[in-house]
């Protein structure tokens, strides 16, 4: 089942997808265009992976790491489907990153890779934008690159684990203004989902609603104000978002 959190009729609802429409938790059926999509999960700790596809690591002149490159994000960075992402004035390189997001379903500590899927509740899509101008070589990628407000669209759906046959073999893609720019498959991850859960839970506890953004494949290009960016993953839907400038934020 595909779940969403949406705002309409002056309230926030949980909803499920039904024949292309949304069924709200109170039974009402609404069109997708008539709601505001929120992040589908009220996230706990948000983990993100850097350089987790060998082809993308090459693209930005890095060799793939020997140990997962993990960084954390705050809740300020998340926005829902159809949202607006700010591109600050004067920035030279801002790129999208289409990523499979894994949602943790229950407390996980010292989990072995063969048991890892038991601790997952489902999946969603994240677009983990980066503003490369702000990269500094301290705790890189530093928060000024990755944890800016509006920089992480997520959704539209939280999809139950049972609905995804093989999360390690899903096509990912990105369209910018209708043109395909990025294409890959989750099978090309350097560290796969069971590895990541085993790795993280070997030194810390993962909790329900923690989210792991598993990295992006090759094909990240610069996007500018006005661009419409759609990131999609087979079986999970498509997450749309538009780049806006500082004027929209009175900056």
């Amino acid at each position: 089942m595909k779940h969403a959190r949406v705002s309409c009729y002056g309230q926030i609802f949980e909803a499920i997808e039904t024949e292309g429409k949304l069924k709200l938790s109170d039974g009402r059926i609404v069109e997708q265009k008539d709601v505001v999509f929120l992040a589908p999960i009220e996230a706990g700790t948000i983990f993100a992976l850097g350089l987790n596809y060998a082809d993308h690591a090459n693209e930005i002149s890095f060799k793939a790491p020997e140990e997962p490159l993990v960084f954390l994000k705050g809740p300020n960075s998340l926005i829902g489907h159809n949202g607006l992402t700010r591109r600050p004035k004067g920035v030279e390189t801002m790129h999208y990153e289409c990523e499979l997001a894994v949602v943790i379903g229950k407390k996980a500590r010292h989990v072995k890779r063969e048991d890892a899927y038991e601790y997952i509740s489902g999946y969603t899509i994240a677009n983990d934008y980066a503003i490369r101008d702000y990269l500094e070589n301290y705790y890189r990628p530093n928060l000024a690159v990755k944890n800016r407000d509006t920089l992480t669209p997520i959704g539209p759906w939280f999809v139950d684990k049972e609905d995804i046959n093989d999360p390690m073999n899903l096509r990912l893609y990105t369209y910018v203004n209708g043109e395909i720019k990025q294409e890959g498959s989750t099978k090309d991850m350097v560290f796969d989902i069971p590895f990541l859960i085993e790795y993280l839970s070997s030194f810390m506890t993962l909790n329900e609603h923690d989210i792991i953004l598993t990295g992006t494949p090759k094909g990240t290009v610069n996007v500018v104000e006005g661009d419409e960016v759609i990131v999609g993953i087979e079986g999970l839907g498509e997450l749309k978002n538009t780049i806006v400038g500082d004027e929209a934020f009175a900056r």
């Binding site: 700790t45 960084f71 705050g74 809740p75 500590r109 070589n137 705790y139």
Partner: protein, 261 residues
């Protein structure tokens, strides 16, 4: 002399009076160890690297070399995730494979309302109060990659004991931070030595990320932090705020599926 603070013993913050040797809560006078303290905050905890002058000066000669190449420009931030939250008088578990941990005594600024793109001059309007934080870390010499494995261990962020409202703290940019190990003073630090003062830090951080009510901004970690091993008791005292105490013990992990590791 007593002062007012807010503490959390359940899901909400409650008013307490802190006396010289007792805590007054709901009209009763109790000793600190008679209460079950919880961290006085529930939001996101953001730490700041390289914000004490001594630490920056000590690393100056490395900034232009590999892997850093350039001195830092913006505040270098990190997150202490929820699994790290710990409280006053609770134990901190040192992982089996680790001999010692760093004690990073610091002041936590507790945010009082949504703060986006705040100017330095108005920064204190967005502050609710202050608390004490021990950013426990596994020692690491390189700051090149995020120190998740070193900083995000369960229980590695004691916070508390309480929140002292900003109206009760005269000059937060002029507070002495003292760290005691087994009652011996082992480090002294001072918030007047911050590279970015509290209002400046709030300005430079909220320029790119919103801080919400209940979030905590740590002002910085000390240069050459002292270490603790299993059996040590660490107490951090900050002027006008209070004192946060934790004992360090050996990790005894309950493995998923029940057995001990």
């Amino acid at each position: 002399m007593t002062f007012q603070a807010k503490a959390r013993f359940s899901s909400m913050l409650e008013d307490i009076q802190v006396g010289p040797s007792y805590i007054e809560w709901k009209g009763k006078k109790l000793t600190e160890d008679a209460l079950t303290w919880q961290p006085p905050v529930t939001g996101t905890v953001y730490g700041t690297l390289l914000n004490f002058t001594e630490q920056v000066e000590a690393l100056q000669s490395q900034f232009n070399k590999d892997p850093y190449k350039k001195p830092p420009i913006r505040p270098i931030m990190y997150i202490k995730p929820k699994n790290t939250f710990n409280a006053h008088l609770k134990e901190v578990a040192i992982p089996e494979e680790i001999n010692e941990v760093e004690i990073n005594a610091t002041l936590g600024i507790i945010i009082g309302k949504t703060a986006t793109n705040v100017k330095e001059e108005e920064a204190y309007h967005f502050v609710e109060g202050y608390t004490i934080v021990n950013d426990v870390s596994i020692p690491h010499d390189s700051y090149y990659r995020p120190a998740i494995k070193q900083k995000a261990r369960d229980g590695f962020c004691p916070i508390g004991p309480w929140l002292v409202g900003k109206e009760h703290v005269v000059d937060p940019d002029n507070l002495l931070i003292r760290t005691f190990k087994n009652d011996e003073l082992i480090q002294v630090n001072h918030t007047k030595e911050l590279v970015r003062s509290i209002p400046r830090l709030i300005q430079d951080v909220t320029e790119f990320m919103t801080l919400y009510k209940g979030d905590v901004l740590l002002v910085g970690v000390p240069y050459n932090p002292p270490k603790a091993i299993v059996g040590d008791t660490i107490r951090i005292e900050i002027d006008q705020i209070g004192s946060l105490e934790n004992q360090f013990v050996m990790e005894n992990v309950q493995v998923a599926k029940g057995e001990h590791r």
